[in-house]
Amino acid sequence: MSASVQLENVTKEFGLVVAVDDISLTIEDGEFFSLLGPSGCGKTTTLRLIAGFEQPTIGQISIMGQPVAGVPAYRRPVNTVFQSYALFPHMTVAKNVAFGLEMAKVEAKEVKRRVNEALELVQMGTYHERKPTQLSGGQKQRIALARALVNRPRVLLLDEPLGALDLKLRKDMQLELKQIQSEVGITFIYVTHDQEEAITMSDRIAVMSNGLVQQLGGSREIYEQPANRFVADFIGETNFIEGKVVEADGSQITLESNGVSFTGVARQSLSAGTKAALAIRPEKLTLVNADEADRSNGRVTMNGTIADVIYIGTDNRYQIDLQTGDKIFARVQNLGAAETKEFKKGEAVCVQWHPNNGQVLTE
């Protein structure tokens, strides 16, 4: 695989605001790559730098090995699907899709053939003569996709393309986008603030905040081994148990808090005395009666009290006051009344988890 888009030490400043702060990324050819982060994290600016709508203050961007400094947007081999779709309201669907080909001076017959092909690809083959105002949100989204793909760009940039759709449609389109991407086989760079969307669709994800890439990795890696507290907190739900490092044995770290010691794993070496937190996902926890707990099974065990129970159908969500003073959530799968014990508010419980599931993170 070769690099499709490469960013080298790219910084973008708007006046005093640093929107993108010294980012280096290599996006492989044919990859589904997501830029994920909260609003204002710099993900859209990064996309706009690649598209050519903004020029970097410092640093270099290359597309298919060619540096694109000073190359205007209209000469870059990339196409964009905009968050607002940006369909031309005065043109029909067919004219919208044909726009890029006409700009490239493609022969009229060929334009017609490729427009048909692109509209078939997004299942909008019968909508040629409609105006954008006569389309629903989902249909506009498909046309915007067809208008970009018809030019056969080397890289497709997508700026929160599903952001305006309702949940059900979004789920369907996620699968469809992924399918289209594998069909056409081009690089997708996908900007989203929806972590579930990014995890479902991406080959790799760059989690961004404050203009920095906080972590770069596959879906599983980012969820299971978050690099820092921001990533752990932003991706899914996470409990933090605050403590101090008392012992470090390679990646195995023992923390201590309120006289309770507990172990987890860390990605970097930590010295004793460092303040750190153990991050543990709510679904990785098991709850047992306080007096029935097996404390010799190699799992971390902590005492706590049920502070609240929320029934959410698939799971029971327990809020637990731990003996360390931290408040945590546990999700227990609802296997039915016969198999799942439901704890009551105020009940004393033991919370257990496997030490490998606890990630020790510093600030």
Binding site: P72, Y74, V78, T80, A86, A104
Partner: protein, 272 residues
């Protein structure tokens, strides 16, 4: 159960009551606005001879024949149309370019330019008129139809710029980015996306400019040279010799002309 049935019914009654009040209010406003014009039009057919124009004395088309045979009126109509036409063309181009510059670019002195651009709308006509006259006098330019033209362009630019800029501000910026993204250079983007989308705004700006130019009295009165009397100035000078149905007839024609322009602009806007 009863409340579930009665609620929608009551809602319907209240809605229709509101509708009726609003309808009558609208009718009242229309009467207030248009009754004087209707009276003007009726009296333009008043067969009153040279006597009291305000007393109805029978129906006649004579005043219209008079108007079309009156070389002074036809001459000033020609001047009015000439000034309106050229000031519309020039101010529409300059006003549109100003609007685009103000909305799309950042440049030195933009805030000041912004304020100055809209000044002609706020400044009283009489001040505009005096200052424009003074300007021509100081520069030693003799008054003619060209001085009227320059004065009209000056105030029309502001109105065109406001109308076009409102349209631009409503336009999604990403449309132009999308065009660039699809390979259109700045000129193609302007020609194929920006301009077509702005067109209704430009057209209504142009029609506004044309109407304002045709209507203007105060500024024209000050900067008009000998032999370059516009229609409103002609009507004013005719009134000084007494109100005749001929004035009503000229005014009616002016009114019909403006109405026709507005209808054309509405039809064109609906089509785009």
């Amino acid at each position: 159960m009863t409340s579930a049935v009665s609620t929608p019914v009551r809602h319907k009654i209240r809605k229709s009551f509101n509708e009726r009040v609003l309808t009558w209010l609208a009718v009242g406003i229309f009467i207030f606005l248009y009754l004087p014009i209707v009276i003007l039009i009726i009296y333009s057919f008043n067969d009153s001879g040279r006597g009291a124009a305000t007393v109805w004395s029978g129906f006649t088309f004579d005043w219209y024949l008079d108007v079309f045979q009156d070389q002074a009126i036809i001459g000033s109509l020609r001047v009015s149309l000439w000034v309106a036409f050229w000031s519309t063309i020039i101010s529409t181009i300059l006003g549109t370019l100003s609007a685009i510059a103000m909305e799309r670019f950042r440049f030195w002195g933009k805030v000041t330019y912004d304020a100055i651009l809209y000044l002609p709308i706020i400044i009283p006509d009489i001040v505009m008129a005096l200052s424009t006259l003074l300007f021509f006098v100081v520069l030693g330019i003799s008054l003619s139809r060209y001085t009227i033209l320059v004065a009209h362009i000056a105030f029309n630019i502001a109105f065109v710029a406001i109308v076009v800029r409102a349209r631009l501000a409503d336009m999604d910026d990403s449309l132009e980015e999308a065009a660039a993204d699809l390979g259109a250079n700045p000129w193609e983007t302007f020609r194929r996306v920006t301009l077509p989308l702005l067109f209704p705004g430009i057209l209504s700006g142009a029609l506004l400019a044309f109407t304002l130019s045709l209507d203007d009295f105060v500024i024209t009165f000050f900067v008009a040279g000998p032999g370059s009397t516009t229609l409103p100035v002609r009507i004013y000078s005719m009134i000084r010799f007494g109100i005749t149905p001929a004035i009503n007839a000229v005014s009616t024609l002016l009114f019909l002309g403006s109405t026709l322009l507005v209808i054309i602009s509405l039809v064109l806007q609906r089509r785009t």
